[in-house]
Symmetry: C2
Subunit: 233 residues, 2 copies
């Protein structure tokens, strides 16, 4: 008997992992954070940060811990996406993955590879390399989740800087939804939500009329969501 196999159970159990799909926005395109795997299986392939669940942590804590260990990111607000359980999805045996996603302000964080990862890097959605495991399916699920969600919840702000202009916000919506929006109607609608605070500052060094900066009124949003309002673009 292998003396290192010291955790014994009456019935077989699957391994459980948590993965993180982290989205960013560079002002033009949506990007996603991948790590290059250092170890087998799929060594050298790109994959989402993630790893095995410890016995004293929730899957969400696991996702955050692995994200930090492999990319240096911390204090990221993540949300559960879906749990992938198909037998055969991992060559190491029976592994189920609880996937989480997050939208972050790329400039707030600097990423660094560590641990199991050779490197961590942002990829725009139209240049995703071949991914390990069933991660391209997971990515599709994550993209379709944020597409559905952004129309009803103000998650877009999470991807922008603290202060942003309305045209920047519009480019973000267009990048996520994959459609062109009327500039003038977008402007009016987004102001009408009452969730933007107008700042006394304009974007500098642009060779045209300078757009104003705004910030997101998080307090007001939380008040409104407690009352069950609905936001729609």
């Amino acid at each position: 008997m292998d003396s290192t196999r010291e955790y014994c159970y009456k019935y077989p159990r699957p391994s459980v992992t948590s993965d993180c799909i982290i989205f960013g926005f560079d002002g033009d395109k949506i990007r996603v954070l991948l790590i290059e795997r250092a170890n087998e299986p799929y060594a050298g392939r790109w994959a989402f940060p993630g790893g095995f669940l410890d016995m004293d942590e929730s899957a969400e804590d696991c996702a955050k811990r692995e994200l930090f260990e492999e990319t240096g990111l911390k204090n990221v607000f993540i949300e559960q996406l879906y749990t992938f359980t198909q037998p055969g999805r991992d060559p190491r045996g029976r592994v189920i993955t609880i996937a989480y996603y997050a939208l972050i302000k790329q400039t707030d964080y600097s990423i660094t590879a560590g641990d199991d990862a050779k490197q961590a890097q942002w990829f725009s959605l139209d240049e995703i390399p071949p991914l390990a495991f069933d991660h391209s399916r997971i990515l599709q699920a994550a993209i379709s989740r944020i597409k559905g969600k952004i129309r009803y919840q103000p998650i877009g702000f999470e991807l922008l800087n603290e202060k942003f202009t309305i045209p920047e916000l519009q480019r973000l919506y267009e990048a996520i939804l994959g459609v062109q929006l009327d500039r003038r109607n977008f402007h009016r609608k987004i102001i009408a939500t009452g969730l933007l605070i107008q700042l006394d500052e304009k974007k500098a060094n642009v060779s045209h009329r300078a757009p104003r900066y705004f910030s997101f009124d998080k307090e007001k949003y939380e008040q409104l969501s407690r009352r069950g309002f609905n936001f729609e673009i």
Copy 2:
């Protein structure tokens, strides 16, 4: 060493279970299917049908299998709800649960207890008994999921008979959303979706003008959803 504990691993692993939250509608109220637990822990308490994952099945297949074993229901279309992973949520040790939900036509199925369950029974949402584990939290998550979903996807039809009247459909929407809807506007809106097929039959034995029967045009819905339309009540 306990010779029955024959599944040994290098690292500890959690147990994984799948649970099913099955909703029905009796024409008046939304109901949910519960089983009375036969075994410890929580013997005698009510809980969702569910059980431990086998190594050769997906979590979805597990949920369907357990649902059949404990209630006799089969051929139910289920959808993943959420995965619950908090350490301490199960007194037997580390157990994570992948929860699924479904909306079914109560009249299509007859339920019977079996296996681990002393009995299976429908409960309306305002008379839910104390539940085992963290199942009341799971129920809340399931309710809020269907409330959110019914406004954008035609899931209501799954709860009604093959043929139904518009007032029946309205009562269902009102039961799920918890609001009163204008009868006349509801009628027009639901017809305007183009998803109802009018039948040459009226409800019999009602002491007032008899409402027409309709059926749901599933084919048309599938065509439309492939094109990415949006349904809204």
